[in-house]
């Protein structure tokens, strides 16, 4: 038994599965970090991912092009994020409740549109999914090469987003504006930064990433759309933001750890281990909670999070 686990093919497979399962969480976590750094908690994430998953699948099914599907998923994520911005930024409603509203609305809408187009088929329709792209030379490295460098294009994009968003947040003027808006909106406003516009743009950019993360699940990880395709991955991403202390690199690391547990569960099942399936599925969620217990005490939440920004206004 131990021999089966420790052989090289298993480890290579596990690394590959880890990165695959981490990809949607990396997209969503980085998107959410961008949004939360500007001072908005987007609990619409789970629903936006589901709409992304459905839209990506549907548009690919119709157009025949996977990348058109991905773009459509990102676009739908942006539109739903705009709705979130209208409720939570422009109107200044409770971010908790607006976000949950977006999730409930989008989840219903995703199923509604899917049924509208496909009816209730006995066998779910499928698309030809993305195939892995091996990077020359790197993918030939023993053990880790085939796992890390023979992956989906979207996985590479997710990995590239980690340094990209880090640089934007910490090294550019735009990033400074975003962080100031998230920490001290009044100060940002005083120096001429448009607080609500900045938050809206961050929401929209984050929404695109969440939608793309959802599309990965129906266009690469699987080739069909099922109602529970997201299965709480949006909520896990919210947890990863806290785990990563609002830092893209640490958040992505959390996503990869989650991906590892998810991948391990898949691989062990593949080997036909007679372990209760559900207990394995439970572990990533349980460990996420345990990890939150560990990090929550020293979490450095953006000071402006959850607070809508309204300029002081006299009645008359």
């Amino acid at each position: 038994m131990i021999g089966e686990i420790l052989n090289i093919a298993f480890i290579t497979g596990l690394i590959g599965a880890t990165m695959r399962m981490a990809t949607p969480i990396i997209f969503a976590t980085i998107g959410e970090i961008l949004v939360e750094r500007s001072g908005v908690l987007n609990l619409g994430i789970e629903g936006i991912m589901l709409m992304g998953a459905m839209t990506g699948f549907l548009v690919t099914f119709i157009s025949g092009s996977l990348w058109v599907g991905v773009l459509a998923a990102a676009l739908v994520g942006m539109i739903l994020a705009l709705l979130m911005a209208f409720l939570s930024v422009f109107l200044g409603l409770s971010q908790h409740v607006s976000g949950l509203g977006i999730t409930l609305f989008s989840s219903g809408l995703a199923m509604f549109i899917y049924r509208l187009h496909f009816g209730s088929p006995v066998i779910p329709p499928i698309v030809q999914p993305f195939t892995q792209v091996a990077i020359p030379l790197l993918s030939k490295i023993p053990v880790i090469g085939p796992g890390l460098f023979d992956q989906y294009m979207l996985t590479y994009i997710a990995l590239l987003l980690i340094p990209l968003i880090s640089i934007i947040l910490y090294k550019t003027k735009i990033g400074l504006k975003i962080r100031t808006v998230g920490e001290n909106p009044l100060a940002a406003d005083t120096v001429g930064v448009n607080v609500n516009l900045t938050r809206t743009l961050c929401l929209v950019a984050g929404g695109a990433l969440m939608g793309t993360g959802g599309a990965f699940l129906t266009l690469a990880h699987q080739n069909m759309f099922l109602i529970d395709v997201i299965g709480g991955r949006g909520w896990v991403s919210i947890a990863m933001v806290i785990f990563g202390n609002w830092d893209p690199l640490k958040g992505a690391l959390g996503a990869i750890i989650f991906g590892f547990l998810d991948g391990l569960q898949l691989r062990l099942q593949g080997l036909g281990f007679r372990v209760a399936f559900d207990i394995f599925l439970m572990i990533p969620y349980l460990l996420t909670i345990v990890v939150l217990v560990g990090v929550s005490r020293k979490a450095s939440v953006p000071a402006g999070l959850l607070k809508p920004y309204r300029r002081e206004e006299k009645g008359g």
Binding site: H96, G101, F105, G231, F277, D278, L292, E313
Partner: protein, 353 residues
């Protein structure tokens, strides 16, 4: 240049607070025309079957009450927790915990006298839901773990605990499906009206509304729970033990959700299955908001939602509009209500510069 600002307004009179949810429901129903038309449904025919399906016959009307029962329980659960700003998004998991405990008691407690079994089953379900909700409450108060995230994640943990048990110790002997044996007769809710599924859980839900109303208005704990929700720091300095208030709030909130699970098990399914709840816990969030976190508001918004859920089945059958329109309408109702609530406190000002 014209700029739009949102500014504070004078407080609205009491009657407006009652009219607002009604107006929100009307606006939602009007907005529902958009997805109906997109789905190619004929507008008046669709609305007709929506309401006929929910209210048109004795059986349909009673079915609407049957659906309302779990929604009232989960709506109350969420409203009671939100009032104390304990963000319990975990009513779904607590419902399952309640159903799980009730299954266990309903199958194995064969030794107790018949008339005592049902109360035991209900108490087990209440406690299971309450204890499951107290985990995030303890994590929040003792370890500062965000309650939104922990309650959400615990839903998935409970789904998988239930799955593991249904494929393991609780699985019906000889069955290959993830389902339990049937609970014994004495553990089932009595049916109260002939030729319908109108069961004990429906009056119980109405009683629960009254009990929560009483707790909120007439007890010290109800006052303390609200004080914690309004301003936890002030409540603490005012001498309220905020930790135990949040814990007790969570226990009651989770218990109510657990009772929703008991009802679905003991009156509808009679055996535990994975799909015992089609998301009642999540609907409870919308219902609580639509009801403005008030128990009577929860009652009416649950009834509105069950009209939509039951009516949408008939509408879907008669017009071909997908059944999931019910969920779209629920989501829209929440957002419309949010916007309406905002304008009880604020108004839009257009400024010309």
């Amino acid at each position: 240049m014209i700029s739009i600002r949102i500014v504070k307004r004078e407080p609205l009179p009491g009657w407006a607070r009652i009219l607002i949810p009604i107006a929100a429901i009307i606006v939602t129903l009007i907005l529902s025309a958009i997805p109906i038309l997109i789905a190619g449904g004929k507008l008046w025919k669709s609305y007709y079957f929506l309401f006929y399906g929910a209210l048109g016959t004795r059986f349909n009307l009673l079915e609407t009450f049957v659906k309302a029962s779990p929604l009232i329980f989960t709506g109350l659960a969420v409203a009671f927790a939100f009032r104390a700003k304990f963000w319990n998004i975990g009513a779904e998991g607590q419902l399952l915990a309640g159903a799980l405990a009730a299954t266990w008691a309903g199958i194995y407690f064969t030794g107790v006298p018949g008339f005592m079994l049902l109360p035991i089953v209900m108490i087990s379900g209440f406690l299971a839901g309450g204890l499951w909700a107290s985990i995030p409450a303890i994590l929040k108060t003792k370890l500062r773990v965000d309650d939104v995230v922990s309650t959400l994640l615990l839903n998935y943990v409970m789904i998988h605990i239930m799955g593991a048990l249904l494929f393991g110790p609780l699985q019906q002997p000889g069955s290959s499906w993830p389902r339990s044996s049937e609970i014994i007769e004495a553990a089932k809710y009595p049916m109260l009206l002939s030729k319908s599924r109108f069961h004990l859980g429906i009056p119980l839900a109405f009683i629960a509304v009254l009990i929560i109303l009483f707790i909120n208005k007439k007890t010290i704990f109800g006052y303390q729970s609200k004080a914690v929700g309004v301003n936890i720091k002030a409540a603490h300095f005012g001498g309220i033990n905020t930790t135990s208030v949040i814990l007790l709030t969570a226990l009651i909130s989770g218990g109510l959700a657990g009772l929703a699970g008991v009802g679905e098990l003991c009156a509808i399914q009679y055996r535990l299955i994975k799909d015992i709840s089609p998301g009642y816990g999540y609907s409870g969030i919308v219902i609580a908001m639509l009801g403005n976190l008030h128990p009577v508001g929860v009652l009416f918004s649950s009834l509105f939602f069950s009209v939509i859920i039951v009516g949408a089945q008939t509408m879907s059958r008669m017009t071909g509009v997908p059944y999931y329109i019910a969920e779209v309408i629920q989501g829209m109702a929440l957002m419309v209500m949010l916007v309406f609530l905002l304008f009880t406190e604020f108004r839009i000002r257009v400024l010309r510069k």
